[in-house]
C-alpha cells in the first residue's frame, strides 16, 4: 500500500483524507486507486 505522490501534500494537510489515496495492484501490475471519484 502506497500513497500517490501527486496527492501527498494534500494528504499530509488532511490526514482524514488519506484513505482516498491508498492504491492497490491491478492484475496487470499497474497501480490504481482503491477509491476513485465518480
Amino acid at each position: 500500500m502506497t500513497h500517490q505522490g501527486l496527492n501527498q501534500n494534500q494528504a499530509q494537510r488532511n490526514p482524514e483524507a488519506q484513505d482516498v489515496f491508498r492504491s492497490a495492484e491491478a492484475d496487470n501490475g499497474e497501480k490504481w486507486l482503491l477509491n476513485p471519484a465518480i
Binding site: Q4, L6, N7, Q10, N14, E16, A17, D19, V20, F21, R22, A24, A26, D27, N28, E30, W32, L33, L34, N35, P36, A37, I38
Partner: protein
C-alpha cells in the same frame, strides 16, 4: 398510449413506462434510470442522453468479489460499477466508503445503487401512468421510495422521492442524483452542458495523476483552471482525451428552482432536470475521458456526470463532514428520528430549434417548462401539466 410493464434491458430486470411521446426505462437492480428518450416520431431525435457503460453490467446484488472483482474492481467500487448506468441515486453518502466501511461491504455512493429495488405499485389513470419502487438500506437504516410518473402527450418525467428514517435519532446524510451522460448524445463538438452556476471549486484530490484541472481551486463557473494555468470551459464535454476531473458548482442562490441540462445541437435535443435548489444546491461535474486504464474503465470510457445534490464533493463521509459548508451553503440533508423527507423534481426532453445554441434560462409555470436561449425568452415551451400538482410550479 399510456402504460408500464416489466421488461428486460441489456439482460437486466427493468420496468418501461411509455406514453405517446417518450419511453423511460428504470432498473430494479440499483434503481437506475437507464433510458429516457423520444419514441420514433417524425422530426424528433430518439437518442438516449443517459450514459450506458461500455462494459456489460450485471444485477449489482449478484456481485461477488471472487467472481467479479477482476472485471469491475474491488467491492468498494466494483459492486456499484457492476450495475451502474444512466441516472444513479447516491444515498446516505456521496463518494467512497472508508476502508472500514468497505470491509463491511459498502460500495461507492452507498447501498441503494447495488440493492434490488421492489415494485410497490403501478398506477394507470386516464391522463397518467406511474410506477413506485422502493428499497431499504439496512446499514443506513433508511427506507427510500421513488414514484415516477409520465403524463399523456408530455416529454416530462415527474419524480417524487421519500427518505424515511427508521432510527430513533435524527440522521444526517448525503442525497445526490448522479446523472451521467455519454456518447452519442454527448459529443465534444455538438454538445454543451448548461448549469446556472455562479462559482465552483475543483476537487481536492486530483484525478489519479490524470487530472485535467488544478486541485482545490476556486473559479468562476464555467472557466476552471487546468494544470498549466489556462482556463477550461466546463460546458464543453470531453475536452482532452486521457484526462478526467471532478469539480463542484454552486447553483445560483437567487433562483428557487435549480436545473441542469445538456444540449446536442446536431440532434436539436435538450435534456434536463428541474428541482428545488433548497433540496439540491450543488451540481458536481465529473468527467472520465479515457483516463483510467484499469477495469472496468479500461481506457475506453467517455462519461460526464452532472450530479445535483445536497453535497458539494464526493469524498469519504468523514472528510465531507469535517470540511463543513462551502460558500456558506449546506452540505448535507437531514431526516428526523422516525421521520421522513420528500422531494419532487422533473426530468424533460425538448426538441429545440436548429439555432438554439445554449440554454440561458428556464422557468416553470403550472403547466409548462419554458426555455430561453440568447435569442429570446420562453423560446421553447415544454408541456408539463403535472407541475400544478407539485411544489415546483411558479417558483422560478
Amino acid at each position: 398510449m399510456l402504460g408500464c410493464s416489466k421488461a428486460k434491458w441489456h439482460g437486466r430486470e427493468a420496468f418501461v413506462l411509455v406514453n405517446d411521446l417518450v419511453h423511460l426505462v428504470t432498473l430494479t437492480g440499483g434503481g437506475h434510470i437507464a433510458e429516457f428518450r423520444f419514441r420514433e416520431r417524425k422530426g424528433l431525435s430518439t437518442l438516449n442522453p443517459l450514459w450506458v457503460p461500455p462494459w456489460k453490467t450485471i444485477e449489482p446484488y449478484h456481485y461477488r468479489p471472487g467472481q467479479h472483482a477482476a472485471r469491475y474492481g474491488s467491492p468498494a467500487t466494483g459492486r456499484t460499477l457492476s450495475g451502474i448506468t444512466g441516472h444513479n441515486l447516491c444515498l446516505d453518502f456521496f463518494g467512497s466508503p472508508s476502508e472500514e466501511e468497505a470491509r463491511q461491504g459498502l460500495s461507492i455512493h452507498g447501498e441503494a445503487p447495488s440493492l434490488r429495488w421492489r415494485k410497490e405499485r403501478i398506477g394507470v389513470r386516464p391522463q397518467e401512468v406511474s410506477l413506485k419502487l422502493s428499497v431499504r438500506l439496512p446499514v443506513a437504516e433508511l427506507r427510500f421510495e421513488r414514484e415516477l410518473t409520465l403524463r399523456r402527450g408530455e416529454s416530462v418525467a415527474y419524480f417524487e422521492e421519500t427518505v424515511k428514517n427508521e432510527r430513533k435519532a435524527d440522521h444526517f446524510f448525503h442525497w445526490t442524483q448522479h446523472v451521467t451522460l455519454g456518447p452519442p448524445f454527448l459529443d465534444s463538438q455538438a454538445s454543451c452542458i448548461c448549469v446556472p452556476a455562479l462559482k465552483g471549486r475543483t476537487y481536492p484530490h486530483g484525478y489519479e495523476g490524470k487530472e485535467l484541472l488544478r486541485s482545490s481551486y476556486d473559479f468562476k463557473w464555467p472557466r476552471a483552471p487546468d494544470l498549466q494555468g489556462n482556463f477550461v470551459d466546463l460546458t464543453q464535454p470531453f475536452i482532452r482525451s486521457g484526462k478526467g476531473f471532478v469539480a463542484t458548482a454552486l447553483l445560483d442562490p437567487r433562483r428557487e428552482i435549480g436545473y441542469i441540462a445538456a444540449l446536442n445541437r446536431e440532434a436539436n435535443l435538450l435534456f434536463g432536470y428541474c428541482f428545488h435548489r433548497s433540496d439540491f444546491p450543488w451540481a458536481v461535474s465529473w468527467e472520465e475521458n479515457r483516463a483510467r486504464r484499469y477495469p472496468p474503465w479500461n481506457g475506453r470510457c467517455q462519461v460526464r456526470g452532472i450530479e445535483f445534490g445536497s453535497t458539494p464533493f464526493p469524498l469519504l463521509r468523514r472528510e465531507a463532514f469535517a470540511q463543513g459548508p462551502l460558500y456558506g451553503t449546506g452540505h448535507f440533508s437531514m431526516v428526523p428520528a422516525r421521520g421522513s423527507r420528500t422531494v419532487q423534481y422533473v426530468s424533460f426532453l425538448a426538441a429545440v430549434p436548429e439555432d438554439f445554441a445554449h440554454l440561458r434560462g428556464l422557468r416553470l409555470t403550472d403547466s409548462e417548462i419554458l426555455l430561453c436561449d440568447a435569442r429570446g425568452r420562453d423560446r421553447v415551451r415544454v408541456r408539463a401539466s403535472g407541475l400544478a400538482a407539485t411544489s415546483l410550479a411558479k417558483k422560478s
